[in-house]
Amino acid sequence: MPEMLKEILKNLVSKPATVNYPFVKPEPLPATRGALSWDMDRCDQCQDCERVCPSMAIKVLPEEKRVEYQPFKCLFCFLCIDNCMQQAISNSTTLTAPGYEKRVEVFEIKKQ
């Protein structure tokens, strides 16, 4: 007797396990590692994040007073968040969106 029979018939009559993404978007879990952003009011350009980043996705340019972040290079390991003394980096639970180009995100300190 084929042993899968019961399971298959059960599957056939029950609802499919499919989440109809992207038409149905499930709530992201609170721990989900999504896109990063820099709060430049807090950042003191110490370059700690650049130093710990294992894939060199961050460039801190103290002279130009800005941070360049490459979401298409980032591993979402969040070492930068853990290591920033100023807690200037924060993450959302929204996943980084795919794109036609490799974006570079620039965060600048507003000039007074």
Partner: protein
Amino acid sequence: MKLMTKARLKSPWVLHFDTGSCNGCDIEILAALTPKFDAERFGIVNIGDPKQADILLITGPANHRNKTVLKNLYDQMPEPKLVMAIGECACSGAIFHNCPNTLGGVDKVVPVDVYVPGCAARPEQIVDGVVLALQKLAEKSEQLEKKEKKGE
């Protein structure tokens, strides 16, 4: 004529090639085909034959050995075709940026149409990426048809 474009959008068959990824993205591509995400909803079939595929999914940073294989596979695919770089290391080398045998991103070998971030790229992101790719496919399809009309 519009029917053809619609059919193309409804039936993107994919070919997956690993150019030295860590497997993370490969298993997520497979996960995108399995019940929870079921990419077959969009007509996506993992076809395994470059001559019959529409979208080439590449994972991994590409290296000196497999770049010829990759180029070959790309050339064997008939038009209209698209290339998606899945995962950070396929996009830019990411963690493998200083590995001596990697090229740092598959766009050094073949033109890439859609970049999907994430390490590993999650099935949701891959599905989003396919949606983007389909928009591009629609443009390509229309261009192709215009060309055909001119040719006649």
